[in-house]
């Protein structure tokens, strides 16, 4: 067996073990939650039952059910006996009746509490044992994940035609995980070491690394199974040559035929699964997908059928594919690791929980549910925070809009452009985005630039006159046609326009690029409460908030998104004025005059030539 085959076989076993552990963990988690809830109930009951009179106000039915479930009692009539005791206790303690419980009732109550105590102890012990098991399986899962990750990385290296380097000590550590594992067949344990040495010898001797798979043979196999993938295979020749494993493809196709699903996949999905998946992953995912009402959806998403079960591995695979993607046109590899079935399920559950109503067949829904979960949550949270999604409109909100990239940044821009946030006093436009949320998607980047420029240059009234359509309350449809003083079509046009009209914050604010990196690499940032107590933020709150509007700060007519500032500052506040300045201007397109205005207001000395001049003048 070749080294690559040994590693692939190992991967199959590891993924199988990983799924087994996931199942155990899932079931243990459910049991743990159940036991913890029962313990909490018993604990509350026992705490109250210390004083016998409290029993009269306790709903004991849950405790009785637990005692019956765990066979501490068998007589179901106990709850009615307890009812009589509670009535008596109410008479004694609430209405002052001169009576008391008889001995039999006292004995019954004491025995009931005693049994509840015993059950509490039993469950606490059970919980601790379950937790121990959970941790041990969890550790084992972590170990498996780590090994999967190592092998995946090593396999990428072996497959990379251009990587002629020899395997290193780090790679040997991966090999050792197989050669030292006593559960692996002795022959394989020895063979993997021999192949490792051979591989390095071949690299040193300059032997060609890959036996490329003949694409015609791959086309022929699919034909044998009644599928014509010629066009798709020819489009991705280089990926097919490098990644097609004839046995693997046959195994997958045989399995698909056996469960009658081969005809359900589009050509691109089928090829992607056959190149980057294996029979085990398809089988395991089919078990889950076939139970779903909306199973049709998953036949349009190849990555749902591929080993993308673990976040860390997926991220690494995605990263690797992405890094190589642009350079070597290996689109299918990137597509294969776009999102796991579990993440898709999580996204669907999340959206339903948040109140969105949709059918997975609807146009655009597929894009949204295959969006990165963090990005999706950020979009939903921020659209709610900025008042675009409300309880009243959530069920009808277009789900496809949630896949929009950089939603928060766009919302901030709409606020600053006087089209959201309700500040500017132009009722028709002050919350324009709420009426037309689709604009979040189809406002092109150049339009933001043009609007920022016009708004800062001509003032609010002229600005609205310039951008209004002849239809009342709507924006003109031709904003990027010269109407706003320029038409920006090419990346060069855009760059020149930015350079000519706006300040580059990186040239004027110390450490700006570092701040920008931090802000850009964080999702779902929450505004820290303590940030609002900082004197510099209190200063903004006192001097730049208008009418308690939560969305805007206004610097002498210049509108800046307040939520943006607070969010950014929560992330990058390092006690310097530069971090405050960066929090304010990040994502905005500010003219020199506006930029200076903000800097003066927060008493920040700008860097760059003008900043130097200002410092000299001040001194």
């Amino acid at each position: 067996m070749k080294l690559e085959e040994i590693l692939k076989n190992r991967l199959k076993t590891l993924y199988k073990d990983l799924r087994r552990d996931e199942r155990i963990l899932q079931s243990n988690k459910g049991r743990l939650t159940g036991i913890s809830d029962s313990i909490e109930l018993l604990d509350l009951f026992l705490e109250d039952a210390v004083h016998i009179e409290n029993i009269r106000n306790i709903d004991t039915s849950f405790i009785t059910d637990l005692l019956l479930d765990y066979k501490y009692i068998s007589d179901t009539s106990i709850e009615s006996d307890l009812g009589i005791i509670k009535l008596l206790l109410k008479g004694i303690y609430d209405r002052g009746l001169k009576t008391s419980l008889n001995d039999e009732q006292k004995e019954m109550l004491s025995s009931y509490i005693d049994k509840a105590t015993q059950l509490f102890n039993e469950l606490t012990e059970k919980k601790s044992k379950l937790l121990e098991d959970y941790r041990s399986v969890n550790d084992e899962r972590d170990r498996i994940e780590e090994e999967i990750l190592r092998i995946e990385i090593l396999l990428e290296k072996l497959k990379d035609e251009k990587d002629e380097s020899i395997l290193t000590m780090e790679d040997l550590k991966t090999i050792r995980l197989i050669s030292d594992d006593k559960s692996v067949e002795a022959k394989t344990r020895k063979e993997v070491l021999i192949r490792f040495v051979e591989y390095n010898n071949e690299r040193k001797q300059g032997v060609s690394k890959l036996n490329k798979t003949d694409v015609n043979e791959v086309i022929k196999i699919f034909n044998e199974y009644g599928r014509n993938l010629t066009r798709t295979i020819n489009k991705y020749t280089s990926e097919v040559e490098t990644n097609a494993d004839i046995n693997n493809i046959r195994e997958i196709l045989d399995y698909m035929v056996s469960v009658d699903i081969l005809g359900r996949f589009q050509n691109a999905e089928l090829l992607t699964i056959c190149l980057y998946g294996n029979k085990e992953s398809v089988e395991s995912e089919y078990e889950e997908i076939s139970k779903k009402d909306n199973d049709r959806l998953y036949y349009n998403i190849a990555s749902a059928w591929i080993n993308n079960v673990e976040n860390r591995v997926v991220k690494k695979k995605r990263y690797y594919a992405h890094e190589k993607g642009d350079k070597q046109n290996i689109t299918l590899q990137y597509y294969a690791h776009q999102i796991s079935r579990e993440e898709i399920d999580k996204n669907i559950d999340y959206l339903k929980r948040e109140g969105f109503e949709f059918d997975t067949d609807e146009p655009g829904v597929l894009k949204t549910i295959t969006t990165n979960t963090y990005r999706l949550k950020e979009a939903v949270n921020s659209l709610k925070l900025y008042g675009v999604i409300t309880e009243d409109n959530v069920s009808k909100f277009k789900v496809w809009l949630l896949s929009e990239p950089q939603v928060v940044e766009k919302l901030d821009r709409f606020v600053e452009l006087g089209l959201l946030g309700g500040h500017e006093g132009h009722a028709e436009y002050a919350n324009y985005l709420k009426r037309y949320p689709g604009k979040l998607h189809n406002t092109e980047y150049p339009i933001y630039l043009l609007l920022y420029k016009v708004k800062q240059t001509y003032g609010t009234d002229s600005y609205y006159d310039t951008i209004a359509s002849s239809k009342s309350g709507q924006l003109a449809g031709d904003l990027n046609s010269g109407r706003l003083g320029a038409a920006l079509y090419t990346p060069e046009d855009i760059e020149f326009y930015k350079k000519d009209n706006f300040v580059s914050p990186e040239s004027r604010i110390e450490n700006y690029l570092t701040y920008e990196d931090i802000i850009n690499s964080n999702y779902n940032v929450e505004i820290k409460k303590e940030i609002l107590k900082q004197p510099e933020i209190q200063n903004l709150e006192e001097n730049h908030r208008v009418d308690d509007n939560p969305y805007v700060y206004v610097f002498d007519g210049l509108v800046i998104s307040r939520l943006k500032v607070l969010r950014n500052y929560s992330l990058i506040n390092d006690g310097t004025k530069a971090s405050l300045m960066a929090s304010i201007v990040k994502g905005s397109f500010l003219t020199e005059e506006s930029f200076q205005k903000v800097a003066q207001d927060i008493d920040y000395t700008l860097g760059g030539q003008d900043g130097l001049l200002r410092r000299i003048q001040t001194n």
Partner: protein, 94 residues
């Protein structure tokens, strides 16, 4: 995405489209060529201008072609043609 040239889009048009869509869309347009050509064939047959749709309404092209065509067939042709004047109409039509 060279296949878009078959729809009378120039290399510049295609570049403009690429510059206006996100990475997820780029992968979608590349990988699901067959589904997308089916949708484009339909739109072209109805005299709909496809470039703005590819650029600004990428979400449409993630839909199964047969399903989308079924939806579009249910729309009055005159109303559908209005998309050429105001692209946002499509959001409400489907």
């Amino acid at each position: 995405m060279d296949y878009l040239e078959e729809y009378k889009l120039t290399k510049d048009d295609i570049n403009e489209i690429i510059n206006n869509i996100d990475e997820q869309d780029r992968i979608e347009y590349d990988v699901h060529e067959e589904n997308i050509t089916k949708i484009l064939d339909y739109l072209v047959s109805k005299n709909i201008n496809i470039k703005p749709l590819l650029m600004k309404k990428s979400y449409l092209f993630y839909t199964n072609a047969d399903k989308l065509i079924e939806i579009l067939n249910g729309i009055n042709e005159k109303e559908l043609l209005e998309v050429n004047n105001d692209i946002d109409i499509i959001d409400d039509l489907i």
